[in-house]
Each structure stands twice: as C-alpha cells, then as structure tokens.
C-alpha cells in the first residue's frame, strides 16, 4: 500500500513495527513503531505517558516526511 501511495506522487511515511517487512515491500521513509498490537502506544504506561510516546513517533514521522531521501531510509532516534 505504501508503495502505491508513493507511486501516485504523495510523500508517505510508514510507521510500522516489523521494519524488515516494510523494507521488503518497498517503503522509502520508515519510522519503527512500538509493538504489533499497539504501534503508537504502550498499555503498560499511563495514558499521558502513552500520548507522549505517540507524539514523539508522530513528530518523527513528520520529520521523515520533511527529509529528502534518495533510498529506503529507516528513521531511528
């Protein structure tokens, strides 16, 4: 799906847990997420801590969208 959205001309960032799969399917901007059932959260934390984690990931995603890349890039911290 990521690849088809990219093909259509829209910059896209893939926020996902299993980075090797994302690389295999051909995503260009990849932000590694927390875990499979809660990529942008962490139920072991409080709601406000979770929201901070989520905010951090979304900020990373937006930063990835604003970064020129020439090949598949994984945006880690």
């Amino acid at each position: 799906m990521v690849k088809e959205i990219e093909r259509a001309g829209l910059p896209v960032v893939h926020v996902c847990t299993i980075v090797p799969i994302s690389l295999t399917v051909g995503a260009n901007r990849i932000v590694p997420a927390v875990a499979i059932p809660y990529p942008l959260g962490d139920p072991s934390r409080t709601m406000s801590e979770e929201k901070e984690i989520r905010r951090h990931l979304v900020e990373k995603a937006l930063k990835a969208l604003q970064t020129e890349v020439s090949e598949q890039t994984v945006f880690t911290d």
Partner: protein, 348 residues
C-alpha cells in the same frame, strides 16, 4: 540410525493460543507438537523429529536477534541433522520467523533447513535466497499438500541427493543459476521459443528476469505549516461495529471514514476489524494504531495546516498483494483529489 530433525512452529500451532499469546518467548519441547505429527508420518522411519521449538510470532518479530540466538541454542542441544520450520502459509510474522530461523540454521549450524510458505508471504521475499521454501497454498487448509512436499525435500537434502529445479521439486525459486547441457544449440532453442511465441503456443524461458518493483521516494514536504496530512492504516481501525464489514483477514475492501471534529478515537466509537493481532489494546484506544489525538493537538498548534477529514483503513492480514495494491491506488487518487500533501500510513 535415522536423521535427527528439529521442528520450529509458532504459538498457535503449538496449541498455546492465538494472538493473545503471540508474545510468548521461545521454548523447547521433546518430540513432535501440532503439525509435527503429520510431518513425522511423512518422514517415515528415515528421519525423526527429536524436538520442537515454539515461539510466539509477535515475540519473534519484536526481538528478532535475541529470539534467533535463543532458538539456535535450543536447537543445538538436540544435535539436529536438519531443521524444518512451519509451514507458515500466508501468515506474515510466522513466515518471517520461519525464514529468520532457517537462515540462521543454514549459516550457523551448516545443516539444511526447509520451510513452506505461500509465495506472497513476506518471508519469501526476505529469505528465499538463503534456504529452500516449499510453495504452499495460502491457508492451513493446504497442510496436507504442504507437509509431504516439505518432508520429501528435506530427506533429499539429508541424503545429499541432487536437488532439481523449483518446478520439479516444488520449492520457490531462489535466484540460483545452474549450467546445463542441451543437445540443441542455444540459437536453435531461441528460434524454437520464438516460433512458439508467434504461434501462440506455450514455451518456458531459460532465463526468467527478476522482477524489481521499487518506487523512488517523492520529494520531501517543504512547507509543513501549510500541509494537509492524511492517515491511512492497514491495522483495521474503523467505527465501532465495523459498519462496512471489512474482513478480519484476506480483506476484500477498504473503508473511508469521516473524522471531521473527531478529536480522539474513543473505545465507545472506534475499534479494529483486524484478526491478525490481539485486538485488546486497539479496541481500548484506537489512537494506539491511528494517532488522531496527537495529530489534532499538532494541528491546533499549527505544526501543519490540517488533518485530512477522512481516514482510510483496511486489514493487512493475509490480504492479497493485488488487493492491497488496488485499494491503495484508489485511496491515493481520492487523497490527491482532496488536496492532501502527505500521508502517514500505520501498520500493526
């Protein structure tokens, strides 16, 4: 003396549980477990499954290096002559785990490894060059066909017999080229193929070209302050009750949902339709998969201009690549028509 085989399976096939148990750490059991029974029958007296290593699919996917190392240590103790993993059919995480384990076995233990997967399983693209993956149907309904084919191939490898072409042996092409002698000259064979093609008759190429489907990255967003950001997910988030009946696996459709004035995805209003991961956490708070709450905050702060008023969702669980492609093409054209600048796509 019969050959010693260690079998690798996931928590589901070991009878531990479904998605709610997908985070169990690796463990080893003596003898056969689950699909090992059928495998044992297919192997006959020539080989014995001495142990079965079980690992949760999510555990493996989230701890690839640690899990692989641990599993390898467990296997070593049983002095295997070969390892069989799966079959994983079209289960993505399971296929990735089977692939990772088999690759490590071949590289570190120097013994053959065989798995079985549906060709669209992401584990195939990732690991087909490293070891033999028998082609299977997309679901466990194909177990009866998969098991004998895997057993046959592993026995051949153990005996050191020559392995034939992918078509002859039933494994997925590994991208290995072998020299072969023909009675007919290459020029004659080429002309034969050409004339067959002209007549519309079937012919088989001797050199299939690899298919590379890569899309170059689009330029970065330059003016985020004026950007419209859209959310798309393969994590199945949808209004509570799943009004469009998006399937829990092998989705045949995607949903488009209006989030005008929705500031937060609450448990009362949203859930997930996805059947391939433990839905507990997404059902409690769908923002954990589709971060609407945070994006609304940032929209208010003026980080970007607008969160697009619709989000798009489907279930990426055994869904055919062709379907996903079709959904995304349609979604992208709607997003473009609506003036969206960039997309955040989340996957579970």
């Amino acid at each position: 003396m019969s050959y010693r085989i260690v079998h690798y399976i996931n928590q589901f096939y070991a009878g531990i549980g479904g998605e709610e148990k997908a985070d169990v750490a690796p463990e080893v059991r003596e003898g056969v477990v689950g699909p090992g029974m059928a495998l044992k029958a297919a192997l006959g007296s020539e080989a014995e499954i001495v142990a079965t290593v079980v690992c949760g699919d999510s555990y493996f996917a989230s701890n690839i290096e640690k899990a692989t190392a641990g599993i390898l240590e467990m296997m070593k103790k049983y002095k295997p002559d070969a390892v069989i993993a799966g079959p994983a059919f079209n289960a993505g995480r399971y296929g990735t785990a089977c692939g990772g384990v088999c690759e490590a076995v071949v590289k570190n233990l120097n013994i053959p490894a065989v798995s079985g997967m549906f060709p669209e399983n992401p584990g195939v693209e990732m690991y087909k060059k490293s070891f033999y993956i028998v082609e299977t149907p997309d679901s466990a309904a194909g177990m009866r066909a998969a098991v004998p084919a895997m057993a046959k191939l592993v026995l051949k490898l153990l005996r050191g017999e020559k392995i034939g072409t992918p078509a002859e042996e039933g494994y997925i092409e590994r991208g290995i080229r072998k020299n072969k002698f023909y009675d007919k000259l290459a020029a004659e064979r080429a002309v034969d193929m050409f004339t067959a093609k002209l007549k519309g008759e079937p012919f088989v190429t001797e050199y299939p070209m690899p298919v590379f489907d890569r899309v170059a990255p689009n330029p970065a967003v330059k003016d985020m302050k004026n950007a419209v950001i859209a959310l798309v997910t393969s994590g199945g988030i949808c209004p509570k009750g799943n009004p469009d009946h998006i399937e829990a696996s092998s989705a045949s459709k995607f949903g488009e949902y209006d989030i005008t004035s929705v500031m937060d995805l609450t448990a009362e209003a949203y859930c997930t339709a996805h059947g391939g991961y433990d839905a507990t956490y997404a059902d409690q708070d769908a923002d954990r998969v589709l971060p609407v709450d945070v994006l609304r905050d940032m929209e208010k702060e003026g980080v970007f201009k607008k969160l697009h008023n619709k989000f798009y969702t489907t279930v990426g669980n055994g869904t055919a690549v062709a379907s996903a492609k079709k959904f995304a093409t349609e979604i992208a054209s709607r997003l473009k028509a609506d003036g969206v600048t960039a997309v955040i796509l989340t996957s579970t």
